[in-house]
């Protein structure tokens, strides 16, 4: 298993990327005993715009908590896709939302690239806002960055009632999208 993961979850404000990053990091650190760090940054423009959530997961001490060279990128907007597609190395993983990004129109990435209809799936579930959880499912299924149960446990711990239900559902749909379950 990989010792260190540098993950970028990129898109725009309101897509729940921060929460997704926290869930991923919590799953790694609280359920699997690894070290994890989550940071975020907002676009340079005040309004709307680019947002990213960074997660570093490691079995070692995390010296620098930010992402320097991502080996896993989730892109939820065309801007985010464009920003990373070009620069990712072949061994990295790029996962993107086919509901929002027309990859054929974009430069091809050298990275291992996977597209899934996150937003459409979320819309089917009745809340566009859970596209983040759908993505998490797909990330876990595609990369095994954390165990599927770890993330499930984390979701159960953080949400309760209807929200837990909805988010778990979305997560499972994501796992399924990427062939797990």
């Amino acid at each position: 298993m990989k010792e260190t993961w540098q993950v970028v979850l990129a898109g725009e404000g309101g897509q729940g990327l921060i929460v997704a990053g926290i869930l991923l990091a919590e799953a790694a650190s609280l359920c699997e005993g690894k070290n994890a760090a989550q940071t975020q940054s907002y676009g340079i423009a005040t309004r709307g715009g680019f947002t990213k959530s960074e997660v570093v997961i490691s079995t070692e001490e995390i010296v620098y908590p930010g992402v320097e060279e991502p080996d896993l990128v989730l892109a939820l907007t065309p801007e985010a896709y464009e920003l990373y597609a070009r620069s990712l190395p072949p061994e990295a993983v790029l996962i993107y939302d086919t509901s929002l990004i027309d990859a054929d129109q974009m430069e091809k990435s050298k990275a291992r690239t996977f597209g899934f209809p996150f937003t459409d799936t979320a819309r089917e579930l009745g809340r566009v806002g859970v596209a983040n959880l759908v993505s998490l499912g797909a990330i876990v299924a595609t990369t095994g960055i954390v165990g599927a149960e770890s993330l499930e446990k984390t979701i159960r711990h953080r949400f309760s009632g209807n929200a837990a239900e909805l988010n778990l559902n979305a997560y499972h749909r994501g796992l399924a999208l990427a062939g797990k379950e």
Binding site: I22, A37, T39, V63, Y64, P65, G66, E68
Partner: protein, 401 residues
């Protein structure tokens, strides 16, 4: 309503320390500060929201009343620090958190805490200035202000965390030092560490070292609230206890009533300095992120959010032995540690998210025998390891090859 579990015996905490085991949590730096404060026994928070410190207030608003404490949102920062001082004098550990603009507003009353010798903790989560500046962005430009921001001769302790774990640990330390020295302590965090989330280990509360202020033991009639013990620190009673006492922002004698005698004033002001400077062994904290016995090519002096990119960069200097000395205590400035480390190095580099603050002190300490280089950045962004590596490369080319 009341503050629960007021400690009754001197130097011994009877605060309910909650759960009885080590807990591993995934926390934001700001949350860890709030947890650290509660773990240290803080039961009073007065503050005024400001980015990027507001999560501390929000956590306190939720948690303090649950442990019998009080969260009060004041009308401004002038009032917040005033309320903290008032609360502390009743025997409750009290604190506030703010960021640059609010910290500027607290300066006048911080002076009251210093002269009145009132233990309390002020968290300043630094953001990018000057003025309103880039309110959501990181900076480390309040280092000099923390030490010199108020009028008149004064001295105080400033600690600076670089990890979420240190956010927790140093908040506990800050309260302990405040209580130990009957003085305000500043926790100088920054937007990066405050908004970062990491796994932290909260020790079994029973294992956390908690220091409580010295209480008087003499009969109430004999109590002199500003008469120092041999260690320079006078015991402090609680308002409402059997001890009656006065605290004033004016110059005062041992009784705490205002007094103008120059000899008294001179001695008092000097004691405010010596009560810290005579106990540097208890106050000065640094972390050598290298073997301190080693000779270095380059000593990198860091604090707060600069530490981790600098450490990452130091690890990537194959042709050069670079070591990071992290200043955990920023004030009193750890002169001796730096002098000693610089002695064993050929050059010194000070990266900081400002246009030159700690470097001035390092220059003062190191003198001109060893070259001291800076790496200064003030644009609302943190350092990447690569930026520090590039500067190391420059320095190496200039004087290490």
């Amino acid at each position: 309503m009341n503050i629960a579990n007021r400690s009754k015996d001197k130097n011994e905490s009877t605060v309910d320390r909650g759960s009885k085991e080590t807990r591993r949590l995934f926390l934001q730096g700001n949350e860890a500060i709030a947890e650290g404060a509660i773990a240290a026994g803080a039961r009073f928070y007065a503050g005024y929201p400001i980015t990027p410190s507001s999560e501390i207030a929000e956590a306190c608003a939720e948690k303090l009343p649950a442990v019998g404490g009080v969260y009060i949102q004041m009308e401004d920062e002038l009032g917040s620090i005033a309320a903290v001082i008032g609360a502390s004098l009743t025997g409750v550990k009290a604190f506030t958190a703010t960021s640059g603009p609010g910290f500027s507003l607290m300066q006048e009353n911080l002076g009251v805490a210093i002269l009145g010798e009132v233990p309390c903790v002020v968290v300043n989560v630094q953001r990018s200035g000057p003025s309103t500046g880039l309110a959501t962005r990181p900076a480390q430009a309040d280092v000099m202000q923390a030490r010199w921001g108020r009028h008149g001769d004064q001295h105080l302790i400033v600690l600076s965390p670089a990890t979420v774990q240190e956010c927790f640990d140093l908040t506990v330390t800050a309260f302990n030092l405040a209580e130990r020295f009957r003085a305000p302590v500043i926790l100088l965090a920054d937007e990066i560490v405050a908004h970062m989330r990491e796994n932290v280990t909260l020790p079994d509360p029973a294992q956390i070292k908690i220091v409580n202020r010295k209480k008087p033991a003499c009969p109430p009639e004999e109590y002199l609230p500003f008469k120092p013990d041999p260690d320079g620190v006078p015991p402090l009673a609680d308002y409402g206890s059997e001890y009656i006492f006065h605290v004033t922002s004016s110059m005062h004698g041992e009784r705490g009533y205002s007094q103008n005698d120059p000899a008294n004033a001179g001695a008092k002001i000097k004691r405010l300095f010596t009560k810290l400077d005579n106990h540097l062994d208890e106050i000065l904290l640094v972390k050598h992120h290298y073997n301190p016995a080693d000779e270095l090519d380059l000593l990198i002096v860091t604090f707060g959010c600069t530490t981790r990119p600098a450490r990452a960069a130091a690890l990537r200097t194959p042709n050069l032995k670079a070591g990071v000395l992290q200043l955990v205590t920023l004030w009193p400035f750890p002169d001796a540690f730096i002098a000693e480390a610089a002695q064993k190095a050929r050059a010194v580099l000070v990266p900081e998210l400002n246009l030159g603050q700690v470097i001035r002190e390092v220059q003062r300490v190191v003198g001109k025998e060893k070259p001291v280089f800076g790496l200064h950045k003030s644009n609302g962004l943190g350092f990447l390891p690569a930026e520090i590596s590039a500067r190391i490369e420059e320095v190496a080319n200039q004087c290490l090859r």
